[in-house]
């Protein structure tokens, strides 16, 4: 027995509130982030990811309060992403209690920031989020997109992943933009190509609709961790059910 594959529920936060919480909590007021985080913790979540989708930069600091509250009561690793633009943003999130910070658009605009943050705080807390889409108009299969999938970058997602690992990323969060929200499963060929290309762990994201998709993400996509939002939020499955299913299919998990 050895290292377990991880299941990571992802929570969306806007204006300091969790807007996608657990099933029965109404979307309008998903309520206490600590309660939500605790519930996932109780179900056996291996980590939690908070994605700050706040539109106004005025309110972006509010995520810090959420992280502070959660970190004082939930003792599993916490990753925060969304709107991280400079090394100072990383520092503030870590000081609030985040264990890892996920960098997305800024990594493309200013790759040096990834290197700077990794050298200052250690690679272990720097996650680079890669949003990729299958394309036909390039000499490669998957292209990196930014700004929530709206802006093409011309970058080959696999080469980009290698470059980010070289600059000091400790982990990659790979989201398939053409699968996100579809519930038809992860883009396993994409994940497999990236997982084979780098030595650092990858988290598969985008497209989970059922528990077999989680199994496929690990077994076909080579993911070290799987991230999912809606299947947990809307109560279709608990994290525990997901882990039991994975274990039944021969995947080592923390139960």
């Amino acid at each position: 027995m050895g290292l377990a594959k991880r299941i990571i529920p992802c929570l969306d936060v806007t204006d300091g509130r969790v807007v996608k919480g657990i099933n029965f909590l109404a979307l309008r007021d998903a309520g206490d982030p600590v309660e939500i985080a605790k519930r996932y913790d109780d179900q056996g979540a291996d980590e939690l990811t908070f994605l700050d989708i706040t539109a106004s930069s005025d309110n972006r600091g509010l995520i810090l309060h959420i992280i502070e509250q959660v970190a004082s009561q939930v003792f599993i690793p916490l990753t925060v992403g969304g709107g991280v633009r400079e090394v100072e943003d990383v520092r503030r999130l870590l000081n609030a209690g985040a264990d890892k910070v996920s960098i997305n658009t800024t990594a493309v605009l200013n790759p040096q920031m990834v290197a700077d943050a990794a050298s200052r705080f250690g690679s272990q807390c720097i996650v680079v989020a890669i949003d990729a889409k299958k394309v036909d108009n390039q000499p490669f299969q998957w292209e990196v997109f930014t700004h929530g999938g709206r802006k093409a970058t011309g970058l080959d997602a696999v080469k980009w992943a290698e470059y980010m690992a070289k600059l000091g990323a400790g982990e990659l969060l790979v989201t398939s933009m053409d699968r996100d929200g579809t519930k038809i499963g992860f883009n396993n060929p994409l994940n497999r190509a990236i997982s084979d290309a780098v030595d650092i762990p990858i988290i598969a994201s985008g497209g989970v609709g059922n528990l077999q998709h989680l199994v496929d993400g690990v077994q076909q996509g080579g993911a070290d961790a799987v991230l999912a939002a809606s299947i947990f939020h809307y109560g279709e499955y608990t994290v525990k059910q997901a882990k039991e299913y994975m274990a039944q299919h021969g995947i080592e998990v923390r139960l």
Partner: protein, 214 residues
Amino acid sequence: MKKIDIAVVDYGMGNLRSVSKALEHVAPNKNVVVTSNPADIANAERVVFPGQGAMPDCMRELDSRGLREAVLHASENKPFLGICIGMQMLFEHSEEGDAAGLGLLKGNVKRFSAASMKDSSGAKLKVPHMGWNQVYQAKSHALWQDIADGERFYYVHSYYVQPEDESLTSGFSEYPNRFTSAIAINNLFAVQFHPEKSANAGLQMLSNFVRWNP
């Protein structure tokens, strides 16, 4: 001056909040202080020596704050818990940046060699070793109390310690080879994993530490 029950050594590397919050959680009546003052460490009843980041930076920052002597003294005289880099720094030398450690314990800190590492199914093992792995108890110890042998703890590291004296090993994990993940000697206990991030098992270990009287 208010009595310090637990001093968490702050040498300016990263996030100590999770360590102090977890200690406060398991010991709500104890005075937990995050400090870079050698006098606080000298006065504290017990000391936690955490760490993250790169070992050469950690050593440099520790020295620049004049904390070396206080940490060494505490490690030999009071209940002392090293975590992650805080464990690695106790040894003589690390491959990370070819850095000298505190040299309290004989042995080296080595890097996992990603290129050659495969699991039993032949799949590539990633570095850093990140996530929940099983920890096997090499010998009984107060800090393992009420923790199952083989319990999972949360790791994130690329380097591991190789103590010269194998009998220091109190716990080990496999990735894919066996490596020392906990050491114990007298008043000192140190772990490679992060008890402050290891949910109930980790809180149990911290709770054991807070009550430990070596």
